[in-house]
């Protein structure tokens, strides 16, 4: 390789890294502010919001309030229940639907795939009023089930779309070899197709999890009751019309990061494993 193109290459690499580092700082800055300020006293927060906690300003008053005086543990459990249930059911049903579309040829196949993909284009929040009516009619108001159902509906289209694309890459011979081996269709799905689509499932898992965990809209409408509030809704009680309890808000937001972070680590490991498994080929 000539000297010039080498220089060009390292230059463009520096440029790319520079842009990515800038973006990372931009994206992580608010999170850094939330976490660092959550460990400061009220005075510390307002005197110098950008400063890291010092011996003088360090305080866990926010965490004390959140854990001691509110139902935060309940909110937390609600959020985890809703997210995990949604994730599990979406991935299972989504993967099965995607496999049905990718692995079997029948009439209406394309039409069905298109119908399922429409959900990606239409924002589910447009249907809020109808969803509210539906939930009321089913008697599911103020229940986690309502949230889970809505989130599954919200996540399925993209899940099916992505997994379908991915599963079409799996050679047909593999399925047929398994049939010759006497493997039932369900086992083909669970023991051959699913393991091979792990990286895609991990990706979709992350895409599904984050919006569900962060959502405020549907809890606000469907689960106003204190016992079924999620974290995002629970935080709102510290945000007053006139006074906001910043210690508590920041502390609960910091706590809310933890479970998503853990779930993300689990999935991203799978993701990396999937990528490297393909790379050594």
């Amino acid at each position: 390789m000539s000297r010039k193109s080498l220089v060009d290459k390292s230059l463009s690499a520096t440029l790319v890294h520079g842009i990515l580092i800038c973006y990372s700082i931009l994206a992580l800055w608010p999170i850094f502010l939330v976490v660092s300020n959550s460990f400061k006293s009220r005075k510390g927060i307002f005197n110098d919001p950008m400063a890291v906690p010092t011996a003088e300003t360090f305080s866990t008053i926010g965490f004390d309030k959140v854990l001691g005086r509110s139902n935060f543990d309940v909110y937390f459990l609600n959020s985890i229940t809703v997210t995990v249930m949604t994730l599990g059911i979406t991935l299972l049903i989504g993967a099965m639907a995607a496999w049905a579309l990718a692995g079997y040829k029948y009439r209406l196949n394309t039409l069905l795939a298109f119908y399922l993909a429409i959900g990606i284009m239409v924002p589910i929040r447009l249907g809020t009023v109808s969803i509210l009516k539906l939930v009321v009619a089913m008697g599911l108001m103020n229940s986690l089930t309502a949230l889970i159902l809505v989130y599954i509906a919200m996540s399925l289209p993209l899940t099916i779309f992505i997994l379908n694309e991915f599963m079409q890459q799996i050679p047909n011979d593999l399925k047929e070899a398994a049939r010759c081996d006497g493997v039932s269709e369900y086992r083909i799905f669970f023991q051959i197709i699913l393991p091979l689509t792990k990286p895609a499932i991990a990706t979709v898992g992350v895409f599904t999890m984050v919006p569900v965990w962060n959502d405020l809209w549907f809890p606000l409408i469907l689960t106003a009751d204190d016992s079924v509030r999620t974290v995002t809704l629970g935080v709102q009680q510290f945000v007053g019309q006139y006074v906001t309890d910043w210690n508590s808000v920041l502390a609960s937001l910091t706590l809310a990061i933890v479970p998503v972070f853990i779930l993300y680590i689990i999935f991203s490991r799978q993701l990396i494993r999937g990528i490297t498994a393909g790379a050594v080929k």
Partner: protein, 353 residues
């Protein structure tokens, strides 16, 4: 026993019929090769035998039992795919054992069978590797091993050598032949390569366009091709075809416009009929004067030389001369026809006599 019978097999996809009534009898232990150009329906037929494609018409029976609606695993077959179709996320051992564990065999039995197959195929050292860590030839052997452990009545091979390089192909071909001598199972083998067909088969089924053109032993097809297609497909280089007409008929003897007279008892030729004369390059003598023309190209391979002639009427002719020829491009050369080794085909491409 695993005699197999295909009777009037039809296959259509929608309105398109791709197999038009195929009848084949296979005797237990036979090595049968389906050969034909791509798109002739040979793979489809194999997949129908395997149970991976529906049968649009006709019956397939194995050991006297019609298996049209039997699922693949219950037919007593094992298939080796062109792409090997190994499970990428399983080790070699698991790949071979997977089907057996599905069939709920005991652990000891599974291990016995897998180890025996691994031994036979020299896979013992590779048992813990993933398919991605194997070479093409090794993957091929694993795929064969996965078939062997099932102890099937019939092995099905779908172009198993076409993803291997030339040297490995010859080796693997020999291994498959040896394997068949060992196991003595019925084998059905699909290929588009006539050399594989000639070297491996007890019985060759030549297919074209969804029809069976001829069934017979390799030497049958070589010496007595039933029609122009088989004559042209079997043998390398290809058989020479010279079109012409019948110039005279005298009892059993037919005289052609090329100036040769052939004895064809029972022929129904009349003077003036269009015919095609077929003669293999190796059956033409470079010395002689039955046909002559100018030499276009000469290929010398050491053991044999191919002389490409252009006849006065523009037709091309290949002569295979043993050894190294003296003839050079641009020369005028003639060749001798051995009338006992000439094939005669009528206007519809069917052999005469």
């Amino acid at each position: 026993m695993a005699d197999m019978k295909l009777e009037g097999i039809y296959k259509s996809y929608g309105d398109v019929e791709v197999l038009h009534g195929v009848d084949i009898d296979i005797v237990d232990g036979e090595f049968v090769v389906f050969v034909g150009p791509s798109g002739c329906g040979k793979s489809t037929l194999l997949r129908m035998i395997a149970g991976l494609e529906d049968i649009s018409g006709g019956d397939i029976s194995i050991a006297g039992e019609i298996v049209n609606n039997t699922p693949p695993a219950k037919r007593g077959i094992a298939m080796v795919f062109q792409s090997y179709a190994l499970y990428p996320h399983m080790s070699v051992r698991k790949n071979m054992a997977f089907g057996l564990s599905i069939a709920k065999l005991g652990k000891a039995e599974i291990n016995n069978r897998v180890d025996a197959a691994a031994n036979k195929l020299q896979l013992t050292e590779l048992m813990d590797r993933r398919p991605a860590q194997l070479s093409g030839g090794q993957r091929q052997r694993v795929a064969i091993g996965r078939a062997i452990v099932r102890e099937p009545r019939v092995f099905l091979f779908d172009e198993p050598l076409s993803n291997l390089d030339a040297a490995l192909r010859v080796n693997t071909r020999l291994e498959i032949a040896k394997l068949h001598q060992d196991l003595k199972n019925t084998v059905i083998y699909v290929t588009h390569d006539q050399v594989e067909a000639m070297t491996l088969a007890d019985k060759i089924v030549v297919m074209n366009d969804g029809n069976v053109e001829q069934i017979g032993s390799p030497m049958d097809l070589y010496h007595r091709p039933a029609n122009l297609f088989v004559a042209g497909f079997i043998g390398s280089p290809k058989m020479n075809f010279l079109s012409g007409s019948v110039s005279g008929v005298d009892g059993d003897n037919v005289t052609l416009s090329h100036g040769v007279t052939l004895n064809r008892p029972g022929h129904s030729c009349a003077s003036g009929d269009a015919i095609t004369l077929g003669v293999r390059p190796e059956h033409l003598q470079a010395s002689g004067s039955d046909l002559s023309g100018s030499v276009d190209v000469v290929e010398r391979l050491g053991d044999v030389s191919y002389i490409y002639l252009i006849l006065p009427d523009g037709e091309r002719l290949v002569i295979a001369e043993p050894g190294t020829t003296e003839v050079a491009a641009g020369d005028q050369a003639g060749c001798g026809l051995d009338v006992t080794r000439v094939h005669l085909f009528d206007g519809n491409g069917q052999v005469i006599g």
